[in-house]
Symmetry: C2
Subunit: 239 residues, 2 copies
């Protein structure tokens, strides 16, 4: 039986690198990078290139790409898009290629690149994601992007949600996953209510982008599975 382990933040990543090429990694940045990536593909984006710096995204604009950049939770001046899933409409992103830089999610994707598969997880595509993990039947690392290397509640709760869905067909013995599952079970009945106390949600309130929270916590609304491969993200799910 393959195993599930949870990497609670990039600060833990080095402890899980052994055998990475045989494992599937799910990169989790619920507020908002991985949610936004799922929405972009659901609305017809062709490709998303995650880049480390806003300048790199800007340089792609000249080649016809949409440039998206967020820092400290806000759209960077002069960019086409930020990191709000609500901005990634069919009109804006349908048929487009997007160069995206975000605070935490981009970095977590790049750290994971040696894995068997690197998939992008969010509440929106949780069923497609977990069905694929089950079918592939390899060890899984649920990799929480966190906030500036620190633990965060929303990514952990999502890791717990995935582990709960897979508990019957995967071995779960590591404490981080067990804790994540317990937190998810506390949160499950009212995810937005539970996450009101999360520090990142309070950061959202101060940025007046609370409506993004609801958009990021809709469960199983999208039948997409973005995969990070050869440095870029494409939708690998044939809906």
């Amino acid at each position: 039986m393959p195993s599930i382990e949870t990497i609670l933040s990039p600060a833990f990543f080095h402890l899980y690198e052994e055998g990475l090429e045989q494992k599937n990694v799910v990169v989790i940045d619920i507020l908002r990078a991985t949610t936004t990536i799922c929405v972009a593909f659901a609305n017809g984006a062709k490709e998303i290139l995650p880049v480390a710096k806003p300048e790199e995204a800007a340089s792609m604009q000249q080649m016809g790409w949409i440039a998206a950049a967020e820092r400290q939770g806000e759209t960077v001046d002069g960019f086409d898009l930020g990191n709000s899933p609500q901005d990634y409409t069919k009109e804006r992103v349908g048929g487009q290629k997007i160069a995206l830089t975000t605070t935490n999610g981009t970095r977590a994707l790049q750290m994971s690149s040696a894995a068997k598969h690197v998939w992008v997880g969010s509440f929106l595509n949780i069923k497609t994601l977990s069905d694929t993990l089950r079918a592939d039947n390899s060890d899984v690392l649920l990799f929480c992007a966190g906030w500036k290397d620190k633990f965060n509640l929303e990514d952990t709760v999502f890791a717990g949600a995935v582990a709960c869905l897979l508990a019957e067909t995967f071995s779960i013995t590591d404490d981080a996953t067990l804790a994540a599952m317990d937190l998810y079970q506390q949160a499950e009945a009212d995810l937005p209510g539970y996450l009101q106390k999360a520090s990142h949600v309070n950061r959202f309130k101060s940025l007046h982008i609370e409506s993004d929270l609801d958009a990021c916590l809709k469960t199983n609304t999208l039948n997409v599975l973005p995969e990070f491969k050869n440095g870029t993200i494409q939708n690998c799910h044939n809906a």
Copy 2:
């Protein structure tokens, strides 16, 4: 209002070093180093010197110290004591000085040494500890020693227990502490039952030292407060 933050493992410590000299650190290694240190002082030990390597503890034997060493959960051959609180009886440790090396706890103490105070926490002395934290009224870092840099359930649940006791007089906004409190509230009614799933408890079972678990989870039985200062640990609480 001072704040409480939780460092879920030594892998996170570097994120919390700023301003350390104004903060009180509680080092937490419930199974078993910090529990054992509390028991040793309750049974009359005069001083405990935490050292990194078994050889260093052994070299203190010639000066009349008791040498205690544990690795992978077991007493190292040729040492007077391991890391089981049940071995630290009045007869063995009363009036004695002890040189102690453990897998995770010693390292966490040494990492914290620049703090205002470095106190040793366990369920056994939780009330003395939390009363002192409240009286000192400085920012608190609850530092979980973890297992080889990974997150563990028992240290996190203890951090949550301390935070719950202090929630009225401290500001708690970091996600790690909020998660620890939620896990403690799930565990509270039956701590040994809850922790049956913890990976370290399963390591205990394979080592046939299950009775240590009960010894480590007794709440508020000891009126001691070990403090790590100038490289060594003494009981700073005048009972």
